[in-house]
């Protein structure tokens, strides 16, 4: 049985999430979509299955905050499947989950990846974050949301020039696609095409002048195959020791196969690594992007090389 794809839509308060979802749901290609939102009544679309959830976070013993389970989301996602199977709601082929403006996306990602019944039924397809062209990145919540994103949408560019916010977004998160939109206009394929998985663009050294406590992105490239066993030791150790400081890790690793291994982590919620059939371009070097604070690019690269060389 194929799992139902889920798109997670996050973004700061008033940054255009609801407008985006409303526009997406008007598109004919978005029929048979279940939407889980925080505020009913704002979307106002009849054909979608709308469910409202209240944020309820379940913090399990000895857990860290970013690895909590969102109990509300678990209940909703399981209930949707049960009611679909019972014929109580129309069949749906995809799900859009809207977060609150202040939500940390990591517990939601963790819920989709780690909760056994949920991950059996659903597959996280993409994380979309909206950034208002007038205000850009605002505070720690906004940074966490933008760092987690696969697709960053600069909204309201009819009201303000979006170029500065777009540049900030690209500098913060070089593994995301960044697009300017007006009025929430976006083709649904941008959320559900599945083509964004291998989007690890660059080996740029970014924000070279940033202070250690400033959130920034760091890229590392390695020639030749990487020892996967040693890499696992290094990354688990890094995420354990510096988990709160690391907002995102994404990379393509040469582990000696025909294609690379895709690695993707939101804070220290790690997606199961995925073997890709082929490299996305002619560059066959392993490349990793880290978004976070509290480390220098040099220290990170030196440590990684010491472990995997």
């Amino acid at each position: 049985m194929s799992r139902t794809p889920v798109a997670l839509v996050t973004g700061y308060l008033g940054s255009g999430k609801t407008t985006l979802i409303r526009h997406l749901l008007e598109h004919p290609a978005m029929g048979e979509t279940a939407v889980i939102v925080n505020e009913l009544g704002e979307i106002g679309i009849d054909h979608a299955i709308l469910r409202r959830v209240d944020e309820r976070t379940v913090l399990l013993a000895s857990g860290c905050l970013c690895c909590t389970l969102r109990g509300d989301l678990v209940d909703e996602l399981r209930d949707l499947v049960d009611r679909r199977d019972a014929g109580e709601v129309p069949p749906f082929r995809r799900v859009v989950v809207e977060t609150t403006g202040l939500a940390d996306p990591a517990p939601i990602v963790n819920t989709l990846l780690a909760e056994p019944l949920v991950r059996h039924q659903y597959a996280l397809e993409t994380i979309v974050a909206t950034l208002d062209a007038q205000h850009g990145l605002r505070g720690p919540e906004s940074l966490r949301q933008a760092a987690a994103a696969d697709l960053l949408l600069v909204t309201k560019v009819d009201l303000a020039d979006g170029s500065s916010v777009e540049a900030d977004a690209r500098a913060l998160n070089p593994v995301a696609e960044v697009v300017q939109i007006v009025g929430g206009e976006l083709h649904p394929d941008r959320l559900f095409s599945g083509a964004r998985a291998a989007c690890v663009h660059s080996t740029r050294a970014l924000s070279a002048h940033a202070h250690d406590d400033e959130v920034r992105s760091v890229s590392v490239a390695l020639e030749g195959p990487v020892d996967w066993l040693a890499f696992g030791v290094w990354l688990t150790m890094l995420l354990h020791a510096r988990g709160p400081e690391i907002l995102r890790v994404k990379g393509l690793l040469d582990v000696g196969g025909e294609g690379p291994l895709l690695l993707n982590a939101v804070q220290h919620v790690v997606h199961p690594p995925e073997h890709l059939a082929a490299w996305p371009d002619g560059d066959r070097r392993s490349r990793l992007v880290f978004i976070g604070s509290g480390f220098t690019p040099e220290a990170l690269e030196r440590s990684l090389r010491a472990f995997v060389a």
């Binding site: 013993a61 066993l229 150790m237």
Partner: protein, 89 residues
């Protein structure tokens, strides 16, 4: 619960597809790393046994649990960016 701990997952991400031989090889690297912090580690029956100089031991089922056990025994997390560790490796 932490996703890294793998408590709610069947298999930790770093262990997917890894057999006994892989665990033994990885244990050798882990032993070198924790030794830098004054701890010991050995692979035993598919698990890792972490110990300190006071005779305390903890059994860890996967990599994430190794770092949690090591932190409990040491009293602080083991930092892979520690320049002295990097030099030692």
């Amino acid at each position: 619960m932490c996703a890294l701990c793998g408590v709610l997952r069947n298999e930790h991400w770093a262990d997917e597809g890894a057999g006994r031989r892989a665990r033994v090889i990885r244990a050798a690297l882990l032993e070198r790393v924790v030794a830098h912090f004054g701890l010991g580690l050995r692979e035993w029956a598919g698990q890792y046994v972490v110990s300190d100089g006071k005779g305390r031991t903890e059994v860890a089922g996967d990599l994430a649990s190794v770092w949690m056990s090591a932190e409990r025994l040491l009293g602080r997390p083991l930092d892979p960016l520690d320049p002295r560790l990097v030099d030692a490796l």
